[in-house]
Structures are given as C-alpha cells and as structure tokens.
C-alpha cells in the first residue's frame, strides 16, 4: 500500500503543533485506506525530534542536510518531490502555514497532483478524495472533489484536527539519501525577527477588549481605549488595525499575532476570520458585538450582540 505522507513542521528547534494535528488526522485516514503512515522530516540537526515523533508513524523518513537548515520552499519542494517519486504516497499533508503556503502550490505544479488548501476536513469516498473548506472568510463551507490521481496534496488548517495518537506505531527510521543533488538555492536565509514583543503582553491579560475593522476610523479608537481604561481591560485587536498602524503589532491576536487566553474576550467589530479565531481558542468567555448576524465570530462566541458598536460603546461608558 502507498503511504500517507505528513510533513513535519519545525522551527528553531521545536516541532510545531500542526504536525501532531496532521498526524492525528492521518492516523484516521490510514485506517480507512489501510495505508501506512510516513512522516517526512526535512532539515539539519533534526535527530532530537525523532524521539518525539516515534510511535506516531510507521515510518520516519529523515532527510538531513546542512543546506536544509532553514526552510526554503525551493529546496524542500525538491526533496519532497524526490520522496514522492520514490514512495508514491497517496496523500501528502502539509500545514496551511507559512511553510505550506509557499510549498504546496509549487509542489502541486511539479507533481501534477490536485491540491486542496486550508482543509477543515478530508473525506474519502470510495477511491475519491474530498476536502471540506471554507470560503468568503468563513461565511460558507465548500465540499471540493479532487480529480482522480495517483496522489493528492492537501494543506490543513491549524486547529482543525486534534493531535491524538490512536495507536502506537513502529516508527521505523529511514535515513534517506537523495537521488539527485539539490539545486542552487535562490533564497538565502538572513535572520528571524521578533515582531510581536511590546510593553504589554496581551497573552497574560485576564480581560481583553479587542477591536476590529468595524471601528472604521482611527479617531474612533479613542472610544475603545477609554472603555478599556474604565473597565480595567487590556486593549487588543485584529490584524487590519495593526496593518493600518493604528496600534502596534503586540496588540494583534491571531496566527501571525498572539494566542491569548483571557477569562473574557470582548470582540468589537471583528468578523472572525480563522486566522483571528485561532488566537482566541483559549479564551474562557467570548462576547462578540457585530452588526452582521452572520459574522463567523458568532459561531464561536458564547454571547453575541447584533448591533452597531457605536451604540454599544457609549451605553457601556455611561454605565461604568
């Protein structure tokens, strides 16, 4: 049987959570299809990861080369392509992350395999592979069928699957030699830059008052700042507020911002795109105020207010 491939994501000496979430789903898929589960570990000085990965897969393919020390979509793509040609995996899973965004579409062209990105679920229906995705910022779901092919590529949304190991697997380690030389890299890593640090740490706050694009104008931000001060909450925001430079980056909640875990998260004028929601899964109680009753944020909020935030803010200020 052809294996299912899962690409191990790691950065700065740590395996990223998405890896185990993909492995959780791949474990399920392997049952339906009876395929062995293979994790693909690419990088340099990655042996410390083997311990953590053992038991999760039937096979661990390790490609270790100094050129692969930092993620480079061009080189990783070449390595994966060689492995795909040799092992012919039926499904290859990658994260819908900065890695997957750069790697998966290119690999789809190179292999000729159909690609479904940002999958919330993967279904097999006989020999047909299907993906459940979202469109229009999460306002609708789509079921996508992938054309019959020798292999399929899917990128998986962070948080879509639980990192559960259903059984112990033998975890045979194969140190893989490459069949062909790697191409000259066209990209040279320079450095990592921390962009999220600042004078407050929203990740530590118990009560966050968070504002999104619904605030409309920079001047209106004063209203929210005043409210945060009166209520004793910490100000946070969605990405567009940072993009517009209305607040510094360390206020941003979400995949590219911070994950937060307040007791209460009050979301004002935030639609609830998944990159934002990913940052608030640890919140105790979510209260959302949004004009749009169909805003995806209401699907995760505990309490919802369908109203113009410019009516709610003054009313709140009046009562405190």
């Amino acid at each position: 049987m052809n294996p299912i491939f899962v690409l191990v994501e790691h950065r700065r000496g740590k395996i990223r959570d998405i890896t185990f979430e993909m492995l959780g789903k791949a474990g399920d898929l392997s049952h339906w299809q009876g395929c062995p589960l293979t994790v693909v570990l690419i990088g340099w000085e990655v042996t410390p990861f083997l311990q953590e990965l053992s038991g999760w897969a039937d096979t661990i393919l390790v490609v270790e080369k100094e050129e692969l020390k930092n993620f480079d979509a061009g080189l990783y793509q070449e390595v994966l392509h060689q492995l795909i040609q040799e092992y012919r995996p039926c499904i290859t899973l990658m994260g819908q992350t900065s890695w997957g965004l750069d790697l998966a579409p290119a690999l789809a062209v190179k292999t000729g395999f159909p690609l479904a990105t940002d999958c919330l679920d993967i279904l097999t229906d006989g020999d047909q592979v299907k993906a459940i995705r979202q469109a229009y910022g999460g306002k609708v779901f789509t079921r996508v069928a992938l054309k019959k092919s020798a292999g399929y590529l899917m990128t998986v949304r962070a948080g879509a699957f639980s990192p559960e190991k259903t059984e112990e697997r033998k975890g045979e380690i194969i140190k893989q030699e490459l069949k062909a030389d790697l191409p000259e890299p066209r990209r040279r890593f320079v450095e990592f830059v921390e962009n999220g640090a600042g004078e407050i740490d929203i990740a530590q706050a118990e009560f966050l008052i968070s504002v999104g694009r619904g605030i409309g104008e920079e001047e209106n931000l004063t209203l929210v700042k005043d409210l945060a001060q009166s209520l004793g909450g910490v100000l946070s925001c969605s990405r567009p507020i940072v993009d517009k430079k209305w607040l510094p980056k360390f206020h941003q909640v979400g995949t590219s911002g911070k994950s937060v875990k307040p007791k209460v998260y009050l979301a004002l004028g935030i639609s609830g795109a998944f990159q934002h929601l990913a940052g608030i899964s640890g919140a105790g109680t979510v209260i959302a105020v949004n004009k749009d009753p169909k805003a995806p944020i209401f699907r995760v909020a505990d309490y919802g207010v369908v109203e113009d935030l410019f009516k709610i803010l003054p009313a709140l200020m009046e009562k405190v």
Partner: protein, 259 residues
C-alpha cells in the same frame, strides 16, 4: 524594474446575508457589490512604490469578464502603466488552470518581479501566486511583508506564525505573494479612476493562447457550497443598547473580571 501584478475582483460579503446559488456550486453573487481583492491592493501599492524608486513599468493582469476591468482601472489610476484582461469565455477554471493561463500570458512579457496578493477574499485558496511562479520556474516567497530591491536580488521579510518574521535574500526574477500591512495603499479618487478609464486595456482571449485541454482541465471541482452547519452558537443578548450594556457588565462581573 518591470513588475507584473495579478489582481482579482471579488464580491464584498460582509454584512450581507449570503444565499446559496441554485446549482449549489457558489453563492448567489448577483446582489453583491464588488471591489479589488484587499491583498491585491497592497500588491499594486508595493509595485508603485518600487517603481517610484527604480523606474520601470507596471502591468496589471486579471482573468475575468468585462465587468472585472473595473479593478484594472483602479490599478491604472494609482500608477500602473498597462492593464491586461484575459477573457476565459465560458471556460470554468480551477486554481491550477488559472495559474497555467497566467503563466502562459506572462511568459511573453518582460519582468523582474511578479506580485500577487497572499490570497483572494472570496475563495481563500492562497494558491494562484505560487503555482504561477512554479509554472514559470521562478523563485518565490509567500506572505511577504517587506521588499527592498537591490541589484538583481531583493531583501524580503516573510511573515511566519506567532509574531515572527524571517528576513532572506531572494534572487530576481521572482514572484512574491504580498501580505496585508506591507504598506498603506493610497487613496484613489473617483476622478483618478475616471481619468484612467481613458487608458486602454488590452484583452487576450483564452482561446488564442497555446493551451491544451489538459492544461485547462480542472483538477478540483466544487461539489457543493453550503451555509455553515448549525452550531450551538452564541447566546444572543437583545434589547436596547442600555440593556445590552447592563447585561455585558453583569457578565463581566459573573466571569470575575470586574468587581
């Protein structure tokens, strides 16, 4: 620097009650208002900023119907030199097919850099840019938040997760997918758009391109579009703003974040 920017016109779906279309393959788009895909607005602006520094030309390309020319006019209004629309006719294309078409057209043009948005607001696929790069055999980078062009290379910043960024040097020509916040897209006046309406838009017919059925055959197809399944959802607080405010304050007390 010759720069090509691929752009898309997308429907605006916030504060709109979306209806599923009759064939259940898409939403009913007819009542919707359209605009330039947000991420593409940043890509165009970045192209204009680079051109202001180094000179050269900018060509904006879209694949779509005549109505989609609206976004090309917007590009022309902010400083794009040329605009091109590829007309697919009645052909349905998936992401792969679109990248195949774009690359075929781009192959005939001169460029140092190709920019696209990270993703489109409507299908949220985030694949066209990088697929196009691969079709053209170009170096690529996704989720780019900074570009400094130097000779035949660019020092770029790419956004990773958790507030982390990576700086790297990429050799040109290359394709970059642009993340929001990289710049501040300039304001486009209605006058500017009206003026740009006089500039010509070149049209390319899909049927005139040298592409086979296999190049264009979809590899993925949408079986069904549906409204999100019901979840327990939020408890709705209803009433006058003052009652809502009281209820929120009561909740804050109950949850222990206010005395």
């Amino acid at each position: 620097m010759d720069i090509i920017v691929c752009v898309k016109r997308v429907p605006f779906t916030q504060e709109v009650d979306l209806e599923i279309g009759q064939d259940k393959k898409d939403i009913d788009r007819s009542p919707l208002v359209y605009a330039l895909n947000d991420w593409d607005g940043y890509a165009i602006e970045e192209a204009v900023l680079i051109k202001e520094q180094f000179g050269g030309t900018i060509t904006a390309i879209t694949l779509g119907s005549e109505d989609d020319e609206e976004v090309l006019r917007r590009c022309l209004a902010v400083g794009t030199d040329k605009a091109m629309r590829i007309d697919p006719g009645s052909r349905e294309l998936d992401g792969y097919g679109i990248s195949r078409v774009l690359s075929e057209v781009i192959r005939g043009l001169s460029f140092d850099l190709i920019l696209t948005g990270v993703q489109a607001e409507d299908d949220n696929q985030a694949m066209i840019g990088i697929m196009t790069a691969e079709q053209l055999g170009l170096a690529h980078a996704a989720v780019v938040t900074g570009i400094e062009v130097k000779d035949q290379s660019a020092l770029i910043r790419c956004e990773l997760e958790d507030g982390l960024e990576e700086r790297s040097i990429l050799s040109l020509p290359a394709l970059l997918t642009i993340q929001s916040g990289i710049n501040e897209p300039r304001y486009v006046s209605l006058m500017g758009i009206k003026k740009a309406a006089k500039k010509g838009i070149e049209t390319v017919l899909l049927t005139d391109l040298n592409l086979t059925e296999e190049d264009l055959a979809p590899r993925t197809h949408i079986e069904e579009v549906y409204l999100p399944p019901d979840t327990e959802g939020a408890d709705m607080i209803i009433g006058e703003p003052s009652r809502i405010a009281e209820e929120i304050l009561r909740l804050l007390k109950e949850k222990g974040v206010r005395t």
